[in-house]
C-alpha cells in the first residue's frame, strides 16, 4: 500500500514537473550577453561605417546585443580564411559569401535558412527581391542569404589619360556601337605605348588567382568554364581558346595588361582602364582626373555582361543563430537596403531604378541605367559549382601555364579539362 502511494506521489511529481517546465516562459536572454561577428572582404572605410551605423541602430532596440563586430579579411584569400575559421570551430555568426561559393556552402549545409524570419518580419517585403538575384541563394521555402550586392563588372576609365594617348574615348566608341574587345585592346595599347610605366587595362580582383572573374572577358567570346549542368569541362573549347589567346596577347604582345607579379593601381592615374565593379570605384570622384564608365565590351560572339554577387548569410555553425538571423533581417530590410545603394547595386526592384542609384552612388542616371540596370538585366552571375574548392585549385595551378610569354594556350586549356573533368563528373 505504502509503495502504491509512493508511486502515485512520484508520478504526480513528475507530471507537475513536466507541466511546470512546459509553462515556463522562454528563457530571457540577458542584456549584453551576445556579441555577433560578421566577416567581410572589404576594409573600405565607407563600407565599414555603413555597417557600423546599421549595427549601432540595431543595438538601440536590442539590449541583449553587446556588440556587432565586422572583421575585414583579404579578398584574394577570403573564402580560404573563412572556411579555415569554420573548420577550426571558430565560425563567425554572419559572413559575406561570394557567388562562386554559394553552391558549395549550401551543399555543406553551412548557410541558415532565413526565410522564416524574413517572412515573419512586418514590412520586410521579400517579394521585392528580384527572383534572378536570389537564384543562387534560394531553394523551395528557403532563402540562404540576402544578395546585398548584385554588381555588374564594368570598364571604368581615365578619360584624361586615354585622350592624351590619342586613343578614342570608350564612351564615344560605345555610342557608335564600336565598343568591342578588339577596340578596347587598341585603346589599352595606345595608353601603354604613350608613356613608360602606363598600363592600358588592369583587373585588380583577378590578380592571376581568382580566374573565375575572367568570365567577364571569355563570355564575350562565347566561352564558359563548364556546361550548364556543371558536368563537362569546356575550357578546351575553340571559344575559350580564342578568349585566352586574346587576353594572353594583351599581356605579352601588347604588354598593355600587367603581367603576373607586376603592380598597377588604376586610382594612381597611370592605368587607362580598369575592369572593376561599382563597389570598388567609390573613391573615383576624389580623383583629379576625369573618369568615365562603360559596360563590358562586346566580344566577337556575344554582348555579354558578367555580374559578381555577394550574399550576406547566417552560418549554421554560429553559436548565436537566432540573434544573427534577426540582425540579418534588420540589416537587409527595405530601409537599410536603400543605404547600400551608395556602394552596392541592390537586388530589391525599387532600388534598381537608375534615378535611385544616381542619387545614392557615384554614377549619373545614364550611367546607372547602362551599367547597373541594363547590366543586371542582360548579365549573368559569375561561375559557381558545388565542388568549387577542388575545381578552382586545379584550374588555378594548371592555368599558371598560360601566364608566360611562350605559353602553349591550347595545350594548357586541354590540361585544365584533363585535371577537372574527373571532379566535375
Amino acid at each position: 500500500m505504502k509503495a502504491k502511494y509512493l508511486k502515485m506521489i512520484a508520478a504526480g511529481s513528475a507530471i507537475a514537473l513536466v507541466a511546470f517546465i512546459g509553462v515556463q516562459p522562454a528563457k530571457a536572454v540577458a542584456n549584453g550577453s551576445i556579441t555577433l561577428r560578421m566577416t567581410m572582404w572589404s576594409s573600405n572605410a565607407g563600407h565599414l561605417a555603413l555597417f557600423k551605423g546599421i549595427a549601432d541602430e540595431y543595438k538601440k532596440t536590442h539590449p541583449e546585443i553587446a556588440d556587432i563586430k565586422f572583421e575585414s579579411l583579404d579578398f584574394a584569400t577570403y573564402t580560404q580564411l573563412l572556411t579555415t575559421q569554420i573548420a577550426g570551430g571558430k565560425a563567425p555568426d554572419l559572413a559575406w559569401i561570394l557567388e562562386k561559393d554559394a553552391q558549395q556552402f549550401r551543399a555543406n549545409n553551412l548557410l541558415l535558412n532565413v526565410q522564416p524570419q524574413m517572412e515573419s518580419t512586418p514590412g520586410y517585403k521579400l517579394d521585392e527581391i528580384a527572383a534572378g538575384s536570389l537564384g543562387l541563394w534560394r531553394a523551395p521555402r528557403s532563402v540562404y542569404a540576402y544578395p546585398f550586392s548584385t554588381s555588374p563588372f564594368a570598364i571604368f576609365y581615365n578619360a584624361d589619360l586615354i585622350k592624351a594617348s590619342g586613343a578614342e574615348d570608350p564612351e564615344a566608341l560605345r555610342a557608335k556601337g564600336e565598343w568591342t574587345w578588339a577596340n578596347a585592346a587598341k585603346v589599352a595599347k595606345a595608353v601603354t605605348d604613350y608613356q613608360k610605366g602606363n598600363y592600358g587595362l588592369n583587373f585588380p580582383t583577378f590578380n592571376y588567382t581568382t580566374w573565375n572573374g575572367l568570365a567577364a572577358i571569355w563570355r564575350g567570346f562565347g566561352a564558359e568554364a563548364w556546361n550548364k549542368t556543371g558536368t563537362t569541362c569546356t575550357f578546351d573549347s575553340k571559344q575559350m581558346n580564342n578568349a585566352m589567346t586574346f587576353f594572353h596577347s594583351m599581356i605579352y604582345k601588347d604588354k598593355s595588361f600587367p603581367a603576373p607579379g607586376v603592380s598597377s593601381d588604376f586610382f594612381a592615374g597611370n592605368v587607362g582602364m580598369s575592369l572593376i565593379q561599382l563597389s570598388r570605384a567609390a573613391s573615383l570622384p576624389t580623383m583629379k582626373w576625369k573618369w568615365g564608365v562603360v559596360p563590358l565590351p562586346k566580344g566577337p560572339v556575344a554582348d555579354a555582361q558578367a555580374i559578381g554577387q555577394a550574399g550576406m548569410a547566417v552560418l549554421t555553425k554560429s553559436k548565436n543563430r537566432k540573434a544573427a538571423a534577426d540582425f540579418l533581417v534588420f540589416a537587409t530590410n527595405p530601409e537599410n537596403a536603400a543605404k547600400y545603394v551608395a556602394f552596392f547595386p541592390s537586388s530589391r526592384t525599387p532600388l534598381m531604378d537608375p534615378k535611385v542609384i544616381a542619387k545614392a552612388s557615384i554614377l549619373n542616371e545614364a550611367q546607372a541605367k547602362l551599367i547597373v540596370a541594363d547590366g543586371i538585366s542582360k548579365g549573368q552571375i559569375l561561375t559557381s559549382h558545388p565542388k568549387i574548392s577542388s575545381i578552382e585549385l586545379s584550374v588555378k595551378s594548371t592555368l599558371d601555364g598560360l601566364w608566360k610569354a611562350d605559353a602553349n594556350i591550347a595545350q594548357t586549356l586541354n590540361d585544365v579539362c584533363t585535371k577537372i573533368q574527373p571532379i566535375l563528373r
Partner: protein, 279 residues
C-alpha cells in the same frame, strides 16, 4: 614534478598526433562535419596521387638545397664572426636579427622585393641586366622560397655554431701550430671534430624545419606557378582547409611525420660514426 610536463605532452603532443592518425582512416570533411570510417583508403589514394608524388619531389628538392646551403653559410659566418675584429658584435646582431622578425612580416617584405617590378630587378636593370620574374619564372620561384627561408633562420644556426666554436680549447690550436698545421688542417682536424655535436644538432633541427616550411610558400608563391613550389606541408593545408578533405590531409601528415621521424632516428643512429665523443 614531472606531472605538468607529462600532462602537457599528453594533451599538446600525444592527443593531437593520435587524433591525426585516427582521422587519416576517415573521410572527415571539416566544413560539413561529416566523417565516416574508410579504412586505409586514404593511404591507397596517396600512393596513386600523382600530385602528392610531385609535391614530395618538390619537398625533397627544397630540403636538399636548403639544408646544405643554410648550414654551410651559418658555419662560414660563425667562423668569420668568431675572429677578433672591430664591430663583430654589430655584425652578429645584424645576421641574427631576421630570427626575431615575424615570419609573415619577413616573407611579405621579400615578396615585395622579389616582384617583377621590385627593387632587385630595378637594380639589376640599372646594371643592364633584365632580371627574371623571381616568383613566376621557373626555377626561380623555388630558389626564392629557399633563399627567403635560408636568410630567415641563418642567424639561429650561426649562433649555435658560434657557441660551439668558442668552446674549442685554444691550446689545441696553439699546439697544432707548433706541429706546423695550417689553417685548413686546423679547421678539419680540430674545429670540425670539436663542433660536430653542434653540427648534428643543427642538422637535425634544419632538416626537420625544412620539411615543415609553410608560411613562406603560402605568402610568396601560393605553391605556384603550377605546383612548382607546393611542398608537403602546404599540400596538407590545401587538402585540409581548401578542399576540406581532412581525412586525406591527415594521411599525408602521418606520412610526413613518419618520414621526418625516420630521418631524425637515422641521423641519431649514425652519429657515432662522425660525431666527436659519441660512442
Amino acid at each position: 614534478m614531472a606531472a605538468p610536463v607529462l600532462l602537457g605532452f599528453i594533451f599538446l603532443v600525444l592527443y593531437p598526433v593520435l587524433s591525426v592518425i585516427r582521422d587519416s582512416f576517415t573521410s572527415y570533411n571539416p566544413l560539413s562535419g561529416d566523417a565516416a570510417y574508410i579504412g586505409a583508403d586514404n593511404y591507397t589514394r596517396l600512393v596513386q596521387d600523382e600530385t602528392a608524388i610531385e609535391v614530395a619531389k618538390n619537398t625533397l628538392i627544397f630540403a636538399c638545397i636548403l639544408v646544405p646551403v643554410n648550414m654551410a653559410l651559418a658555419l662560414f659566418l660563425a667562423v668569420l664572426l668568431n675572429m677578433h675584429f672591430k664591430g663583430r658584435t654589430t655584425f652578429r646582431a645584424i645576421f641574427f636579427s631576421p630570427v626575431i622578425v615575424s615570419t609573415v612580416a619577413w616573407t611579405i617584405v621579400w615578396k615585395y622585393i622579389l616582384q617583377d617590378d621590385g627593387p632587385i630587378n630595378y637594380f639589376l636593370g640599372l646594371a643592364g641586366v633584365d632580371g627574371p620574374n623571381w616568383l613566376r619564372d621557373n626555377p626561380w620561384p623555388m630558389m626564392s622560397v629557399v633563399m627567403v627561408q635560408v636568410f630567415k633562420n641563418l642567424g639561429m644556426n650561426m649562433i649555435f655554431f658560434l657557441a660551439a666554436l668558442q668552446g674549442v680549447p685554444e691550446e689545441m690550436y696553439e699546439s697544432s701550430e707548433i706541429d706546423g698545421a695550417n689553417r685548413w688542417q686546423q679547421f678539419k682536424k680540430i674545429t670540425l671534430p670539436f663542433i660536430s655535436p653542434t653540427i648534428l644538432l643543427v642538422a637535425i633541427l634544419t632538416i626537420a624545419g625544412a620539411f615543415q616550411v609553410f608560411a613562406q610558400v603560402l605568402l610568396l608563391t601560393g605553391g605556384g606557378p603550377g605546383l612548382s613550389t607546393t611542398v608537403l606541408s602546404y599540400y596538407i593545408f590545401i587538402n585540409a582547409f581548401q578542399i576540406f578533405d581532412l581525412g586525406y590531409a591527415s594521411a599525408l601528415a602521418v606520412c610526413l611525420f613518419v618520414f621526418v621521424m625516420g630521418l631524425t632516428v637515422a641521423q641519431w643512429q649514425i652519429r657515432t660514426r662522425w660525431v666527436f665523443r659519441e660512442v
